[in-house]
Symmetry: C2
């Protein structure tokens, strides 16, 4: 590599530090910040994002990127080449946007998110609408400008920001298959479920402190390094933070420990990906996770594929019972019953509470709506009605209020359009990874059945985590599983677990 | 004002946002960060401080400062002129230092602080010494470069960074008076105390959750706005955070609630100053607090002057009793006995636990030692012994180990030389402020005796907090109290409270 490339590595290491600062401040905003600081924090975040944009788009950066060269062979050549390509992509995306648009977008989303918090509570879409309108207006401006620079249509330009290289044309056939198969599959699963004797509900109260202790037990069990992360509470669970400082959140319900526990397992899947990125490349673009579809595949692989399996439920039942200090007289605390509860299917309103069978339906609705909003084909005033119609068409449910409809998610108020499809694509990829991992190493599932995630984690470190962004998502997926992204493994998994009812599934 | 001045306001608003980010990340480092993130966080902080330095020293900044002009009359003329002067002072200090020195200093202090945490626990000065040597070497380089730019001797250059305008020559006569009077005064106070019947100790355990609840009750009582700040736990209590987001910490001992409670009252004094700065100037240099002596005067005014007074102790006793859920059968929970406990004098090793009578002795020792270290007259290997000799000379105590000696404070490992004297100067100023406030508004002390701090806070808002950096510390002190900074009010207060034993004192 030449000196221009080495100089770029230094600039991007600096940007990585700035990303870390933004990551911790974002976590703080959700978890720690007092309410009266919100306006000022919005300004602070906009300033830091402006600064990041300024560093990335400085004239010197363009000159260095033009001059930079990397050897085609030798140790790390693949990584350095991918790093330079990732730098160029980031620079191209950033220079597509004028500084004032970046700052206006950050301001608008920070403010909109604050309004959303109270609007969701009171199911008040009307109050949110003008703030959302401003976010949408600026998101479309971002999509247009980025799309023009990258030669992409506006929605693809947004998608590409979350999942480098993924296009609407990749998603549409996968989602068409789901749209065709899902209603029948859901009906079949519900029929089979109805034919079983009812599962025994587990009664609380489950004190928050004990649920938190259980969460920490499970995080450690899966391989989370407690010296490099934290578990806290926020309204909308997430995995964030910074390099070597991965911060999960969940939320607790004292009447039911399962949602918080599964939330922790989900976010731990994300965290393990971040913790498994190669230390040598941690401050460079190539050292980052390979987009949201891969990230979501890792959370769903843990939460859905392995931690709701019959094999794991048999290990989990006695361990959860101990951590939650459940008296000996309580019934239903066996693996088979817990598995029934963990795999209960019921069409519902709330995406984040949805089971893995009905979950993709929530995404199909949001995907169509956000494409229409970005295209200008759907007025915001019509969003609540269109959302409710979509849920009815796919799940047969009538949404009773916007709190349980289009106000439930933080994404659109935060300006995250083009993000939702990655959740469903991640579910597809997770099923593919599980099938491939268990085929390549038959010890993985039996080990998980003993609470031992080490063989699984070793496979993931080698085939996914350790590769970071040295290859694209489709490359990583194909090399690990032998297949492109498709719905087959997911649909087979659903049939195996819910209709054929294989005991370990 | 001209356009150059307006442009400077925008640049400094940006720096203010960067300061906020650094403030929250610093708080996070002490309160939330997992241990494994320490090295990386040190890099992040160094990067942000480097960025701040870069913005402040950019060529455009020098040009704008040369061109900037402000009207001499009209509304806010005083503020704008003081703002421009403060900008020029900050710029002069920053340009005195090369970027690599700023970053090296930040790295060295972050690393040294981490080593100090374990070295303090094991009383292991030898392990800390090489890290401290590097911090001292860089601090001396900073002092030399800054002093050269400002025409100050090296120690004055450091002092000026914490307390703009204060010089060794201002401190020396005040400290000489203390050095002369203090040993006799301490002996007199101890004689009077020995002649009284013993105070009744208050027995715990006092659960942390109840102590925390008591802390929050008292914070609100003093006027702390809970929507604009937090109370948490850290090893070394501090008041930090950001604009409109003031974060206090304390540490708890279940056997004794008084240290944590007084810590909270101390930090609340700092917090009220920050919360009382004028909102209109909050993102400008002139809107910041007027140096560490004023800041410390505000914490000591609350903790020492008012909250340990007989008048307040009578209100506090039943309220603390309720918050701590003390049974009716417990004895000693009356105002007079609590006042005895709050004003107990006993020479000890730990500065932050010291009573207000012996406290200045701890500072006199550190002041002489740090002047010698900066001058190169004291080798680090000789520091522990010299420290212990100083404590023996002033307090008659033999320091048993470095944990209770020169390792007890975070300041030197953090590179904070020139900071210690402000604590004792703050104690002097606090006594002057109390005397002046109570003379100008005789309702203040009776109100505090009813738990009502509103009249006191109103006086402080007008005479101290609301003035921010629109005038220098000596101006603010003289206009509020009619006197320059001196030891008289402090010495009179000590005699009044501990020897004459006035009941409200």
């Amino acid at each position: 590599m030449n000196t221009a490339y080495l100089s770029l590595e230094r600039h991007f290491a600096r940007l990585s530090s700035l990303n870390d600062a933004i990551g911790i401040l974002s976590w703080d905003k959700e978890v720690m910040m007092p309410s009266g600081a919100a306006e000022r924090r919005a300004e602070n975040m906009a300033m830091l994002e402006g600064l990041r944009h300024e560093i990335l788009t400085a004239p010197a950066m363009a000159e260095l990127l033009a001059e930079a060269g990397v050897d085609a062979t030798g140790e790390d050549a693949v990584w350095r080449n991918a790093n330079l390509a990732a730098m160029r992509r980031l620079h191209k995306r950033a220079t597509a946007l004028p500084q004032d648009l970046v700052e206006a977008f950050s301001h608008a989303t920070s403010r909109c998110e604050i309004v959303w918090r109270s609007a969701r509570e009171t199911s008040d879409f009307a109050t949110l609408q003008p703030y959302m309108a401003e976010v949408l207006r600026l998101t479309r401006a971002v999509a247009d400008a980025t799309g023009e620079a990258l030669g992409l249509n506006p929605y693809d330009a947004l998608l590409d920001g979350f999942d480098p290289g993924t296009r609407q044309s990749d998603i549409d056939p996968v989602f068409a298959r789901l749209r065709a198969d899902l209603p029948g599959l859901i009906a079949g699963v519900l029929d089979h479920q109805a034919a079983l004797p009812p599962a025994i509900p587990l009664h609380g109260p489950f004190p928050v402190a004990r649920q938190e202790a259980l969460g920490r037990v499970l995080m450690r069990q899966l391989g989370f390094d407690m010296t490099r992360g934290r578990l806290d509470v926020s309204t909308h669970p997430f995995c964030g933070g910074a390099t070597f400082d991965v911060r999960l959140t969940t939320r607790y319900d004292e009447a039911d420990f399962i949602p918080a526990m599964m939330g922790v397992l989900h976010e731990t899947g994300h965290a393990l990906y971040d913790m498994g990125l190669p230390a040598a490349w941690v401050s460079q673009p190539v050292g980052q996770a390979g987009g949201m579809t891969l990230h979501e595949s890792q959370s769903l692989l843990m939460e859905m594929q392995f931690c709701r399996s019959g094999a794991f439920a048999r290990w989990l039942a006695p361990h959860a019972r101990t951590a939650l200090a459940i008296p000996d007289t309580a019934s239903g605390w066996d693996g088979a019953n817990l598995h029934r509860l963990l795999t209960h299917v019921e069409p519902g309103f709330i995406r984040v509470d949805a089971d893995e069978v009905t979950y993709p339906a929530h995404i199909l609705v949001r995907y169509e709506l956000e494409k229409a909003m970005i295209a200008g084909d759907l007025a915001l005033a019509d969003l609540p009605g269109a959302f409710n119609d979509g849920i009815h068409a796919l799940l047969g449910l009538r949404v009773p209020d916007d709190r349980r409809g289009c106000l439930q998610d933080i994404h659109w108020p935060e300006g995250l359009f083009g993000y939702f499809p990655c959740y469903a694509l991640g579910a597809m990829a997770a099923a593919q990874f599980r099938a491939a991992a268990c085929q390549q190493n038959p010890d993985i599932l039996p080990a998980v059945g003993k609470g031992d995630f080490a063989p699984l984690l070793a496979w993931l470190r080698q085939n996914v985590h350790g590769r970071a962004s040295s290859a694209t998502m489709p490359q990583i997926l194909r090399e690990a599983t032998g297949r492109p992204l498709e719905a087959d493994a997911y649909l087979a998994h659903i049939r195996n677990r819910y209709i054929d009812r294989a005991p370990d599934a």
